[in-house]
């Protein structure tokens, strides 16, 4: 996925209404009218949100049927969340190393650390 598409995905999901729509579409396909129902906004406004999500590759609309239901491209969404999770995991690993350093600073016993134990006589 090129960087500019990633930027578009992030920009698309920066809006709380669009995040709600993505959550709704994760349950199942829905028409623009159905998506507009829970919000105090016009169908036109929802269409604009859907266009932003479509441009980012997150949502597609079938062309044939008259209802033209919106469909969440789950693969694209999963890819982005995996990236975020990978970065979160890197931070998690870093801070688990810090946990060990902090425990040693306090003099807590670390099972793997037997340095200089019982060396004095």
């Amino acid at each position: 996925m090129p960087d500019d598409q990633l930027s578009r995905i992030f920009a698309a999901l920066a809006d709380p209404t669009r995040r709600d729509m993505v959550a709704r579409l994760a349950v199942g396909d829905a028409t623009v009218g159905e998506l507009a129902d829970p919000y105090d906004v016009s169908v036109q406004a929802v269409s604009k949100h859907i266009k932003v999500l479509s441009d980012a590759g997150l949502v597609s609309q079938t062309k044939d049927a008259q209802r033209r239901p919106c469909h969440l491209e789950a693969e694209v969404f999963d890819l982005m969340t995996k990236w975020i999770e990978r970065y979160r995991q890197q931070a998690q690993e870093r801070y688990e190393r810090l946990d060990v350093v902090l425990a040693e600073m306090r003099g807590d016993e670390i099972p793997t650390d037997h340095r200089q134990q019982g060396a004095a006589s």
Binding site: M1, D3, L6, S7, F10, A11, L13, A14, D15, P16, R19, V22, A23, A26, F77, T81, W83, I84, R86, Y87, R88, Q90, A91, Q92, E93, R94, Y95, E96, R97, L98, D99, V100, V101, L102, A103, M105, R106, D108, E109, I110, P111
Partner: protein
């Protein structure tokens, strides 16, 4: 003793309005201990680098107005990072961060250690970069940078989707 490290998870938010990332993480330690682990170079190198990479400090003056520089390396490959300590307080560190491979880009990082009582402290880390593109490319690059990415409420959204 059983390691307690798995109890606390990193949480991440990316601000939708400014190119900033915020991260929090709790520790079984005091703010003073966490400050020391961030400012003492011998302690810092033991936890900052990714697993399997050796971190080597080249320059380190962890005082207000001071500077830092280190390289993380493995098998002859080295990644350098540098910046300035803008402000070193009692429970707060403000510093800049640049990856040597992208010398024109600089992040402004603020670390704040919130005393939760009972020997626990919450680390609040925020990082401001030049542009949304820069932030998102940082995410896409896969480079270990110390800046984490994500969107506000996205964790909750992802949880809803599962």
């Amino acid at each position: 003793m059983t390691p307690t490290s798995n109890r606390y998870q990193v949480s991440i938010e990316a601000d939708p309005k400014v190119p900033m990332v915020r991260m929090t993480r709790d520790f079984d330690a005091t703010p003073a201990e966490l400050m020391r682990a961030h400012l003492d170079p011998e302690l810092f190198v033991r936890w900052v680098g990714p697993d399997g990479l050796q971190t080597k400090i080249l320059d380190w003056d962890a005082t207000t107005g001071g500077r830092w520089r280190y390289v993380a390396g493995r098998d002859g490959e080295e990644y350098g990072f540098h910046g300035c300590f803008h402000d070193v307080g009692d429970d707060r560190i403000v510093q800049t961060f640049t990856f040597d491979g992208q010398p024109d880009d600089v992040a402004l990082e603020t670390l704040w250690f919130e005393d939760l009582g009972g020997g626990r402290t919450r680390l609040h880390a925020q990082s401001l970069v030049d542009s949304f593109e820069g932030r998102d490319q940082w995410l896409a690059s896969g480079m270990e940078t110390g800046v984490e990415q994500g969107y506000a409420k996205l964790d909750a959204l992802v949880a809803e989707l599962r």
